[in-house]
Symmetry: D2
Subunit: 142 residues, 4 copies
């Protein structure tokens, strides 16, 4: 059985990310997810550049976000990013965003990525070897 | 039985919307959905400002997007926006994005919005009267 | 003597471009300039892709913007883009933004671009031949 | 005689900030300036929200940026923000952006802001009292 793997990072809401209602425009959360995914990738050695060095790009094929509480300019958000192992040649992350000050859950979401060979853009139907190895190292149940 | 209501608008992909892989960054599609929703709102009299004049704001509580084909700088996209009537006090839209040149379906998605009273931010559990009237005018089956 | 060359295009201010004060965030004007430059390039055959096909990229090395009047969500802006010929191997544009409804001048600005050979990123000290030809065709005084 | 006041903050270039050429799109630097100004404001007590609490908003009336070196996804930038005191009712900042790894200067720029009374949007011709006090505290020559 495989365990899940998580990481978290903090983001300060920028002035230009809030809309005329004073709250963060919903589209920016997709960027917060990317910030979370990137912090995760940097920590565990599977950032965009790591995939690229191994010959792959990993475009997003699905994203979903549910908004629970509004977030305002000056708020600090904590993004909790969790990798969910799966058999298919896909990379699944879920995200939980918290208001650091109030500890309220402000949003949840998920992304799914696939593997394309960088040179040919051909979709991979099985996980690349280096990624299977990464999973073995990081996700093996003890 | 209620019919659905659709509209479409065209968008030219900007240089700054493409990422280092040359394709549109996935987060920008959320903006294309908004462009579609806005064109719909302008056509049928339910833009953000119409809601506001009636005393309501209509924040997004859920967004979902599935990516089928990549889109590049210089491509023209057609956003087809469809309003899906529902009994609950919610506004549901679905979106289909096409590459104008190739007529390929490049992405699909959906959004859900709720009604908050603008002054108090109180969530509305039933549809505001003006919105019910709008539905009666535009969605009544002939 | 060389004449100047101008073009104009219209832009509808998006909801997500306005900030918590209800007015368009100043950074978005840089994008409006790009929209103007792009409309100009499409009209006169010197868009980014035209440069690229001729073996060059033309990065911005300077941008300047002065803000005269605020612009709000729902406003329509007209970008007037003017090409200013110069002897150096540079591309100089100036921009004037007007509120379409009130005809007020809302902002002015300028950009300077240089030529890099696309393959080597080497800065060009004289204008590429194709660009001199473009200038001869479009800017020759009658 | 008044001294200058500086601060610096670091920014990690996001994937979605790089353009199809692999380098950061020039418009994003305006946001880096804002990040620098904001870090400065938080440190010295003159952030947007501090102005607002004192009854003023401080819109940008001019921005200028010169680009020296390109910056790429994954690069870390240090923004050095310097406040330049002036007699007029204006707020002048200059910015220097460095590539943290190479210590190269990648861009320079400046912004000018004015004071509007928040309620009336009336332009202030002399510095608000609280801002003069702030200057006295922080900029007095010893």
């Amino acid at each position: 059985m495989q365990k899940e793997l998580s990481d978290h990072t903090e983001i300060l809401v920028r002035f230009n990310e809030a809309d005329p209602l004073g709250i963060v425009w919903h589209g920016h959360y997709i960027r917060y997810f990317e910030d979370g995914r990137e912090a995760f990738g940097n920590k565990y050695g599977i950032g965009y550049l790591d995939f690229y060095r191994n010959g792959y790009v990993v475009p997003i094929v699905n994203v979903e976000c549910s908004y629970k509480k509004s977030v305002r300019y000056g708020d600090k958000i904590r993004v909790e990013t969790t990798y969910h192992p799966c058999e298919a040649a896909k990379i699944k992350f879920s995200y939980r965003l918290f208001n650091v000050k109030t500890e309220e859950l402000v949003a949840t979401g998920s992304t799914v990525q696939v593997f394309l060979e960088a040179k040919t853009s051909v979709l991979q139907l099985i996980n690349p070897v280096f990624f299977e190895e990464w999973k073995n190292i990081h996700l093996r149940a003890q």
